[in-house]
Symmetry: C2
Subunit: 245 residues, 2 copies
Amino acid sequence: MNETIETIHKHRSIRKFKDTAITEEQLDAILSSAQQASTSSYMMAYSIIGVTDEKKKAQLAEITGQNYVKDNGHLLVFCADLHRHTLNATPEQYEQMTPNLENSEHFLVSAIDAALAAQNAAIAAESMGLGMCYIGSVRNQLDRVDEILSLPKHVIPLFGMVLGVPDAQPDQKPRLPKQAIYFENEYRDHKETLNEFDESIAAYYQSRKTNTRHDSWTDQMLRRFTNPMRMDVTGIIKNKGFNKQ
Amino acid sequence: MNETIETIHKHRSIRKFKDTAITEEQLDAILSSAQQASTSSYMMAYSIIGVTDEKKKAQLAEITGQNYVKDNGHLLVFCADLHRHTLNATPEQYEQMTPNLENSEHFLVSAIDAALAAQNAAIAAESMGLGMCYIGSVRNQLDRVDEILSLPKHVIPLFGMVLGVPDAQPDQKPRLPKQAIYFENEYRDHKETLNEFDESIAAYYQSRKTNTRHDSWTDQMLRRFTNPMRMDVTGIIKNKGFNKQ
C-alpha cells in the first residue's frame, strides 16, 4: 500500500478542530489539487467559496446545525456553476444555451465536477495531516446559503467542507462489503450481504467508544427515507435555473 | 509537495492503454479506496459495475463513441443507487420512502456519493502508475447502458471510468486561474479573468503537440451549450424513479 492509498484508507470525518487557521500554502495546495480533478468536457462547472467572515460562519453554523462549521481552520462551500459559461454570450446565444443550462444533464455535470474537485481537495488536505468533513446540511436552507454567498443565477451551493487541524480521532465507520457495491457485468441483488452487514454494523454500534446504540444500517436508512427531507431543494434549484427541463 | 499531492497534480486523462489487464490486487486497492470516500449520512448511495464481458464492452464503445472503452485494462461504470435502501422495506415503508427516493435532494446525494467514490478510485489508480479517464458519454444513450447493465429501478448509470496501463502521456490541459473558481465570502464576477484565460488557452491550443487549433475556452463552451445535448437524460432518470418531484 503506497502513501496515497494509505492516506485514503485512513480517512475519517473530523468534527473537532484545534484553534489554528490553515496556512496560505496549505489552502493553495488544496485548491490547486481541487482544480486538477477531471472535468466533464473541460466545463470546470463549479466554484468554491471560502468563508472567513465570522458573521457568515455563524449563520452557516446555525443553518447546518453544526457548531464546528464556525470553529475550524477553514470553511469551503462547493457550488455548481454554469454562470461562467454565459458570461460572454450574446442575448441570442444565451437564449440558445437555455435548454442545456436547464436540463438534468448539465445539473449532473456540474454536481459531479464539483464533487470530483472536492474529493481531490479532501485527499490533499488529509495528505498534509489536516482533517475534513463534508457538510451536506448547507442544503437544510439552500436559499439562505445562496443569499449569504451572493450567488448569481446558474450557481447553487451543493455542500460545504470544513478543514482544519484535527482535535479528535474518531472511529472509522465500516463500509458495505465489496460484494454489496461492486458487481461484474450486471447489477446483482444483494439482500443477503446487506443483512450480514446489518448484523456486523449492529455489533459495531454496540462496541464503539462513543455514542453506543442499538441500530443497523437498514434501520438508519428506513428512518431517514421515511421522513420527507429537504423537499424544498427541488424548487430552489429550479428557481436558480437548474434542473428545470 | 508530498507524494499524494504530486500524484494529484500529475493527472491527465489517459485514452490509450497497453494491452494489459490490471491485477486483482490493483482492482481491490482501487475499489477499497473508492469505498473509503465520505458518504452523505452513511447512505453509500452508489454502485460500481465492472464490465469485463467483451460484447458489453463493444456495445459501450459504440454508445460512447470511444474505442478505448473496450481497449483498456478495466472498465467501471459508476451508478447512483437508492435501490439498496429499499431492499428491506415493507410495502408501507416503501410508499413512505417515495418522496425522498424521488426528490432532487437524494438525486444529488447519490450523484455526489458516486463522484466522491470515483475520484478516490482515480487517485488510487494513478498513485499506482495506472492511467484513467472518465466517460461521461455513457449518458449518450443512458437507457441502453441501463439495459446492458441490468439496473433495477432507483439505480442509474452516471459515468464510466476506464483504467489501465498508460500508453500515452498527453499534455496537461490548463485549468482556470484560481481567481476564477475561488472567492472569499461571496461570489464575484470574473469576466476579466476569463478573458485573460481565453487568451492563454488560445495560445495553448496553438502550441500543443497534437490537435492544434484556433479556439478559446469561451468559444468551446458557447459551441457546446448552444446545441441542445442529452435532453433525454431528464426523462430517462425520471423513469428510473429519480429526480421526479
